[in-house]
Symmetry: C2
Subunit: 388 residues, 2 copies
Amino acid sequence: MRSISIVGVGLTKFGEHWDKGLKELIAEAGTLAIEDAGIGKVKIQAVYAGCMASGRFNGQEHIGALAADVLGLNPIPATRLEGACASGGLALRNAYLAIRTGEFDVALVVGVEKMTEVDTGDAGFALGGASDAETELFAGASFPALYALMAQAHMAEFGTTEEQLAAASVKNHKNASQNPYAQFRNEITVADVMKSGYVASPLKLLDCSPITDGAAAVVLMATDVARKMNAARKAVEIIASAQASDTLDLAHRNNLYETAAAKKAVQDAYRQAGISAKDVSFAEVHDCFSIAEIMAIEALGFCRQGEGGKFTADGHTAIGGKTPVNTSGGLKGDGHPVGATGVKQAIEAYWQLNNLAGARQVRGAKIGLTHNVGGSGATAVIHLYRKA
Amino acid sequence: MRSISIVGVGLTKFGEHWDKGLKELIAEAGTLAIEDAGIGKVKIQAVYAGCMASGRFNGQEHIGALAADVLGLNPIPATRLEGACASGGLALRNAYLAIRTGEFDVALVVGVEKMTEVDTGDAGFALGGASDAETELFAGASFPALYALMAQAHMAEFGTTEEQLAAASVKNHKNASQNPYAQFRNEITVADVMKSGYVASPLKLLDCSPITDGAAAVVLMATDVARKMNAARKAVEIIASAQASDTLDLAHRNNLYETAAAKKAVQDAYRQAGISAKDVSFAEVHDCFSIAEIMAIEALGFCRQGEGGKFTADGHTAIGGKTPVNTSGGLKGDGHPVGATGVKQAIEAYWQLNNLAGARQVRGAKIGLTHNVGGSGATAVIHLYRKA
């Protein structure tokens, strides 16, 4: 099977970009990625764009063609992928599959979301399109409410505490404090989380990822072609790509305290790469809410089912711990421009495996994992990486 | 290269479905396609969904997972593609590419749009997301207006007449009158078109495709696997798949009377299949407006640049003519549920090549072409088909 690698990355600062629209965000991240790859934009043969809800946020669809246009890449094929907050991961995966066919050798993957053009209520409604709109969104269940139900189930089943949930946010803010691209660079304490207001019990404001603008891009290439073009110096190979689905609404799940799609996808990914959870040096996981990180590390096999809260509170997911998780700062610390998040996760893997993560560096990192989730878990996309 | 075929198809009636939502439309088309393939849904390994603007139309994103969910296909991967009105074609193309990798052998491709849940103004705004929202939609340029500019350019450059444009609509209504799935089964005359009200000069009401609800689905399989599973009886092979992009807005094009992305994509497709325009037995083209069909047949090489109006008025694109175009009724006659259209085009190719098109049958059809376009031409997706 053809080896495929990330050979360049570009990222905008995540945050509130009042002076930039979708186009400017895409142009910045895309241009930086092409520059980092050092190949010149004429070598790009296809664009894959991840974006969730630009129709509602910006009145703009057709994000693949938009990305090709603002980067001056016409007439190459340009395609948008959408899988709610997993849109970025899907863009990466579909570019990877297309390169595997030999249809292309080089693709630009860009994830983007510009969320601050609407007010918070409208943003919540737009994001609610990731749930089962008929049975959840229109019935009044916001995303914090859906994840709060999962948190309650996890607490009831396993005795997970609010302080343990808070530990995920505390760690992620600490990591974000070392990430110049992060939206929130302030460290917080468990006490800060505990005294922040309830959004949907047991989730408090500091358990929740924010509304964010941002874009992230990577250049993906067949590794042999990258070597021929002298573009493989920082190449990070994708050694597994897997995806699975679950019911869109919570009501039809077997239980609310585990994420079946992520479990399925990660098993597929480990099998593809011939590794197991203990071989993973670090992971970027989809902590849209603190409970999501707890459930993620259980699904990925870093700790046993039900022990994610304790595992986090005990520091095993901190940089220097058994399995560092969200060294970038995660969705909580970095911010969560939904379509960009899955691509940003891959960028952190690229930086870590190239020993470019500065104060966030995981020493001796060999294998990275990204876990990108759509909605309350209906889409899960897992990638594994190692230095090519 | 691996041979890949459509082995089953399913279509809802196109029209106003006041009693069906996104889920019901997907369930109907998807179930019919799986039944037609005769393989049982447990054989489906991935879902690719095409949908343009469900966020604005229905408050629902995450259409890939939704499709897997309503069809009971979890936990297989489910992915949504968006490229404005070319979303269906992109779903077909990405499923095709994924099967080419060997990642899957069998995929379900679903296109859907449920457009009547919002009023006409909001629908126009949602569709405007296919254009460059900043420079076109927000400036007041609706899609009829954008295509009217192209029609004016074509008329000025080549002397194309309003009566010639009308001939495309007249033919497409005639074909639709023989299609039980079509939204409009009434025949119309050139005089009817000419006396219908101007929407954006020179385009009149009967030059414009309508607002439509509908879904279309196909089962796509590696041809050798279909043969082993005795599912290849009606198999129609995809012998080429190509895609290209153009600027999102009209202002940056070299001219307004030709569609560069379609020209690029079709040349790629002809090269892949080793054929030329004269080998095409019939084509489904993207006649969102009558002028779009005229520009399409020129781009595809069925007639010379500038002669599309006369070629149409002379009957060369009618069933029985040199190159029958839009035997299904096209977007004008069948209706245009934007995400479904590209998949419906493939279904007409499947029916024609299986000699199942009834009164619309093109005798001796050997090679079919579908031409699916997003926006005012920024995305073009071309597929070629023959009986496997």
